[in-house]
Amino acid sequence: MAALLGRSCRKLGFLSSGHGARRSVSTETGKSLNLYSAINQALHIALDSDPRSFVFGEDVGFGGVFRCTTGLAERFGKNRVFNTPLCEQGIVGFGIGLAAMGNRAIVEIQFADYIYPAFDQIVNEAAKFRYRSGNQFNCGGLTIRAPYGAVGHGGHYHSQSPEAFFCHVPGIKVVIPRSPREAKGLLLSCIRDPNPVVFFEPKWLYRQAVEEVPEHDYMIPLSEAEVIREGNDITLVGWGAQLTIMEQACLEAEKEGISCELIDLKTLLPWDKETVEASVKKTGRLLISHEAPITGGFGAEISATILERCFLKLEAPVSRICGLDTPFPLVFEPFYMPTKNKILDAIKTTVNY
C-alpha cells in the first residue's frame, strides 16, 4: 500500500493557487480546511440560508461516516437532518418527492458504489420529472452527494467512479470537485441549481486535501471548466482527485521542456466543450485521465467531441489514461490506477508522435 504512487500525504495547496487559476474566490483567504470540513460548511450554509432544505441519508445524524454532516442535526434539528433506513432507492425516491414539493433535498448516498439501487429513480423519475410533466412539476431541489473514487484500500465496493453512467442521462447534472475550496462553492451551486444534480466527492481528499476556504457563502458556476495550469504543448483534462496526479505529471513534463495545459472539467454533464476546444486548438494535443475504467468512460465522450471539433488541429491521437477494465481490485490497485508515470509516458508519446 505504501507503494501507491502519488497517494502519499500531500497537501493540495498548489492546485488552487497554481498558474492560471482565474476564479476570484481562489485569491481570497479563508480558513484552512480539509474536504469534508468544506463540504460540511457548505451544508451548514445551505440549511441556514433556506429553511426548506433537508439533509438525509444513512448515518447522517451523528455526522456521517465521513463526517460531512457533523453538527447539522444538532443545529437544525432532527426534522431537517435525519437518518434514513438503509435503502438507496427509498432515499432518492423520498428526496424526489420532497424536492417536487419545492424543498431542497440534499441526499447522501454513503458510497457511490451503492448508488445503483437508486438508478431507476434517478434516470426514470428525477431526470424526466420536469420534461414529462410539461414543466408543471420539477424536482430541481434534489442534490445527491456520494463519495467516489480510489482510497488506497477500498477494493470493489469502496472505490468506484460511476460518473459515466450518469453522464448518459439527459435531465440531470453531474459535478465533481477537485479540492475543498472548489467543493464548497460547487456544492452550493448544485444545491441551488434548479435541476437535479449528482455530486461525487473524491473520498481520498476528505482528509488529505487541505486548502484555504473562504468562510462566507459563495458559489462556483456549473458547466464552466477551469484552466488551472496554462501551457502550449498539450492539453490535459480531468476531474476530482485525478487532477492532483495529473498536476504532478505536468510538473515533471515541464522539467523535460513540455508545457502542459491542465483543465479541471468540474461539471461533466452538461460539460464545457468550448473551454476544452479552445485549449486543444491552441496546443493540438489532448490527454484525458480518469480513474473509472477506460471502456465507455467519460473520456471517450470528450475524445469524440474534440475530434469532431479540432480534427485538423490535432497533431496526435487523443490519449486516455484511465482505470483498467476490471472491477476495482484490492491488492492490484497500484497496477489498476492511472498513475503519474503512466500519464507522463503518454504525454511524451503524444508530444513526440
Binding site: 435503502c87 432507492q89 423520498f94 417536487a100 414539493m101 426514470n124 424526466k128 410533466s133 410539461g134
Partner: protein
C-alpha cells in the same frame, strides 16, 4: 423524524400472535381509542408487553431482556409464527352485491350532491374509456388503457379526499383527475399529444398530469411513485398542511422494491400518506397467485408498522368511507395508512393486450355484469331518490356527445412546436441541446419528407 411522542401504541407484539392467533382485521377494537400502558413513541413497537400468565412456562417468560429495539420476553418453546392467519383478513363493504345497504354497517354519510357527482363521474369515466378504446382500435389513437371495473376505486377515493391532497398515481387512476375537474377535452388533448396537452406531447396517451389539480404526472415505471409520495407527505407535514399524499398502485406494483422502500420510509418518517392498492387480480397476464403468497396486500402493512384495511373496491360507499377515515388518521396522527381495494380489471391491460389469451371471457363478463361497481352504487342512490332512469339516459347521451366532440377537437388540434422537444430537459436548455436543435432543423430542411407534417417547426 419522531416529532412528537404519541401515546397510542398499536400492539404488534408477536407473542400475542403466537399465543392467541389474534387476527386484527377490521372490527376489533378501534385503533384510535387504544392507548398503551407506556406513553412512549409508538415506534418502539418491538417492545414486548408484560404477558398475562398464560402457558406452562411462567417463570421463564417472566424474564425479559432489553435488546436494542426494546424489551422482549422469552419462550422456551420452539414456535414459528405461521406464514398466514387461519382466516383471511375480512373485506370491508357496506353495499351488498345488489347495491342494498347492509344493516348495521359503518359508513361515512355522503350528501346527495356528492353521491350524484360520484355516480355521474363513474359513468363519465366509463363512457370516456369506451370511446377512447374504440378510437385506438380505429387507429385514431396510438394507445390507451381503460379503468373499466375500477371506477369506484377511482371516483370514491377522490371524493373522499380534499383538493390539497397531492396525488401520485400509477396509470389507472384518471378518475381522480376527472373528479377534480380535468375536462374531457384535457384528457383527449393529452392522448393526442397536441399543443394543448399539459405534457407538451412528450409522453404516450394516459400519462396525464396537472399541477393545478395536484396530480403528479404519470410515469409508466411501476411503483416508482410510492417513495416519491412519502417525500411529498413529509413536506406536507413539515409545512403543517391539512393535507396528505395519496399514491395508487396495483397488485403487481406491490412486488417492486420501491413498494417496500416506500412503506418502510413512510412508517419511520411518520409521513401522512395513503397507500391505495388496486388489487384487481392481474398484472398484465400475471395473476396474483404468481405475484405474491401473502394474504394479499393488507397483511403487508403490519410488517412495516403500518395500519391497514382491506375494502371492497367495487363498493363506492365503502371505498369513500375507508379513504375518508384513513385520510383523517393519516393527517391527525401523522402516519401512513395502507388500503387494499379488492376489485377486478375488467378491461385488458391496455390496447396492446388481449386478455382473453390468459383468462376466460366468462370470468370477465361476470365481473362486468354481476359485480359492476356502477350498478351497485346506482341502486343505492336510486333507493335514496337521488337518481332516475331519465337522468341516467340524459347523462349518458350528453357525455357521449361531449366525448366525441372532445376527440374530434383534439384530433385536429396541431401538435406542439418542435422547440418543445428541447425545452424542459433542464430549466434552461444547455449549449449541447441548442446545438442539437440547430442540427435537427438543418436536417429537416434537407429531408423534409422524413418528418411528420403535423409538428409545427
Amino acid at each position: 423524524m419522531a416529532l412528537r411522542l404519541r401515546s397510542s401504541l398499536s400492539k404488534s407484539n408477536f407473542l400475542n400472535i403466537l399465543l392467541r392467533h389474534n387476527n386484527l382485521g377490521f372490527g376489533t377494537a378501534s385503533h384510535t381509542t387504544r392507548v398503551s400502558q407506556n406513553p412512549i413513541s409508538r415506534f418502539c413497537n418491538t417492545m414486548a408487553e408484560k404477558l398475562s400468565s398464560v402457558g406452562e412456562h411462567e417463570d421463564a417468560n417472566a424474564q425479559v431482556m432489553d435488546f436494542p429495539g426494546g424489551k422482549v420476553a422469552f419462550t422456551p418453546e420452539i414456535k414459528f409464527i405461521s406464514e398466514s392467519s387461519k382466516e383471511r383478513v375480512p373485506c370491508y363493504r357496506v353495499l351488498d352485491d345488489n347495491g342494498k345497504l347492509i344493516t348495521n354497517s359503518h359508513f361515512v354519510q355522503v350528501s346527495e350532491e356528492v353521491a350524484v357527482k360520484m355516480y355521474s363521474d363513474m359513468v363519465t369515466l366509463q363512457i370516456m374509456d369506451n370511446i377512447f378504446y374504440e378510437a385506438q382500435r380505429q387507429g385514431r389513437l396510438s394507445f390507451y388503457a381503460t379503468t373499466i371495473g375500477e371506477e369506484a376505486i377511482n371516483i370514491a377515493s377522490a371524493a373522499a379526499l380534499s383538493p390539497q391532497d397531492v396525488i401520485f398515481p400509477q396509470y389507472r387512476e384518471p378518475g381522480v383527475l376527472l373528479w377534480r375537474g380535468f375536462t374531457l377535452q384535457e384528457f383527449a388533448n393529452q392522448c393526442f399529444g397536441n399543443k394543448s396537452d399539459n405534457g407538451k406531447g412528450r409522453q404516450m396517451p394516459v400519462h396525464y398530469g396537472s399541477n393545478k389539480l395536484n396530480y403528479f404526472t404519470v410515469s409508466a415505471t411501476i411503483a416508482t411513485q410510492l417513495p416519491n409520495a412519502v417525500g411529498a407527505a413529509y413536506s406536507l407535514k413539515m409545512d403543517k398542511k391539512d393535507a396528505c399524499a395519496v399514491t395508487y398502485f396495483g397488485d403487481g406494483g406491490s412486488s417492486e422494491g420501491d413498494f417496500h422502500a416506500a412503506l418502510n420510509f413512510a412508517a419511520v418518517m411518520e409521513a401522512p400518506v395513503l397507500f391505495i392498492c388496486r388489487n384487481n387480480g392481474w398484472a398484465i397476464s400475471t395473476p396474483t397467485s404468481d405475484q405474491f403468497r401473502s394474504d394479499g396486500l393488507v397483511v403487508k402493512g403490519r410488517a412495516y408498522g403500518i395500519r391497514s384495511i382491506r375494502v371492497d373496491g367495487n363498493d363506492a360507499l365503502a371505498m369513500y368511507s375507508a379513504v375518508h377515515t384513513a385520510r383523517e388518521m393519516a393527517i391527525s396522527e401523522e402516519r401512513p395508512i395502507l388500503i387494499e381495494a379488492l376489485t377486478y380489471r375488467v378491461g385488458h391491460h391496455s390496447t396492446s393486450d388481449d386478455s382473453t389469451r390468459y383468462r376466460s371471457a366468462d370470468e370477465i363478463e361476470w365481473w362486468n355484469k354481476a359485480r359492476n361497481p356502477l350498478s351497485r352504487f346506482r341502486t343505492w342512490i336510486e333507493s335514496n331518490g337521488w337518481w332516475s332512469d331519465e337522468e341516467e339516459s340524459d347523462l349518458r347521451s350528453r357525455i357521449k356527445k361531449e366525448m366525441l366532440e372532445a376527440l374530434r377537437v383534439a384530433e385536429k388540434t396541431e401538435k406542439p412546436n418542435l422547440e418543445n422537444m428541447f425545452s424542459d430537459v433542464y430549466d434552461v436548455p444547455p449549449l449541447n441541446l441548442r446545438e442539437q436543435e440547430r442540427q435537427v432543423r438543418q436536417t429537416i430542411k434537407s429531408h423534409p419528407q422524413d418528418y411528420p407534417s403535423d409538428v409545427p417547426l
